[in-house]
Symmetry: C2
Amino acid sequence: MSKGETTRQQIINEAMRQSVSLGFEGISLGGLAGSLAMSKSGLYAHFKSKEALQLAILEEAIARFIQAVTKPAMAKPKGLERLRAVFMNYLDWIQGDKTDLDGCIFMTLAQEYSGKPGPIRDLLVASQQQWRTALQQLAEQAFPTKRQDAEQFTFEMIGVALSFQQSWKLIKDPSALQRAQQAFEHLISRYQSE
Amino acid sequence: MSKGETTRQQIINEAMRQSVSLGFEGISLGGLAGSLAMSKSGLYAHFKSKEALQLAILEEAIARFIQAVTKPAMAKPKGLERLRAVFMNYLDWIQGDKTDLDGCIFMTLAQEYSGKPGPIRDLLVASQQQWRTALQQLAEQAFPTKRQDAEQFTFEMIGVALSFQQSWKLIKDPSALQRAQQAFEHLISRYQSE
DNA sequence: TGTCTAAACGAACGATCGTGCTATTATCGC
DNA sequence: GCGATAATAGCACGATCGTTCGTTTAGACA
């Protein structure tokens, strides 16, 4: 990897970390350059615009999410076990201990770009739909007798994750993780019944 | 009401509307003044600082939330019916048709101030805890035999609301409302069983 | 090692940010 | 209606924003 590509990755890495809490509008190129101990213009030379940097961050985040949440679960056997693994990886992703990102950047951007059209929103929505589709397929495999309810399952599972992030990051409720796991188990047992 | 108090309310009103989608950092006093067809300094004279304006917005939002969600439900009989009314009002609040706020400002601020200490975060957290406590009490009244599970119920119900906002505002899923209602009914029937 | 190209820098741009100050205008009690 | 006072406007401030420029430093390959 060339020198330029290396620093470009470092920029994206640091920018991604800051974006989790500050959002894409909250990060500044000057502040970023300061965090990386380099000049603002030197940093800017790696991207055509701030929006191009934001898109690069989002693309990198999507890749990391798949790498951290989806992919490792594929080692598990198809069905409930795989679904459970994805959920646990998802909670880990939200906690951010392993990715040192404290929080889920997609939840930050979902708020920021709910009412703001443009290429960033488009990519974000596309990635979210892809994620929901993937979850839906996992649910169909886990509950083959209730394939038509997989979309509803996805809706509720995402809700558990969102509630977890809010309880954990904002309220700082120490029982948030336990509550999320318990909610997931109840959700599962509901779709297993009959 | 004096002239000053009137325009102060208009400022807060417009600022609140913009804050839902842009967040508290995203609103600018210049832009706000432009939207209200008044000078930036004329607007600024009503508040000691931008943060004071933000606090005023949040206080007003809390008051409106109670007025729109909590209070009307008190007309319903104690128990499940009242709990259901609160949930429905909550969904209305998130949709924002009646408050013309498109979206729940608390969800926007929850993201923005998760990792940003200060008086705004303090007030936001306090209001959220109050909201959770209120929901918990409603759940205890609705399911008297499962009083120790009321906190878990609250966690999951908030998750349904969060998932609804995401599906409705970001993904624009037309079945979001139905999914939320269905999730709530399943949640209720779980706590009613036995 | 010398040369060419890539990478980083420093300075400056116009614009906008939040925040003061002073002056002008409108409101309200007598 | 007049005078005191509240409300709004105008202007400028230092700072920071994203962006562009020309220059200098560093890396990569011959």
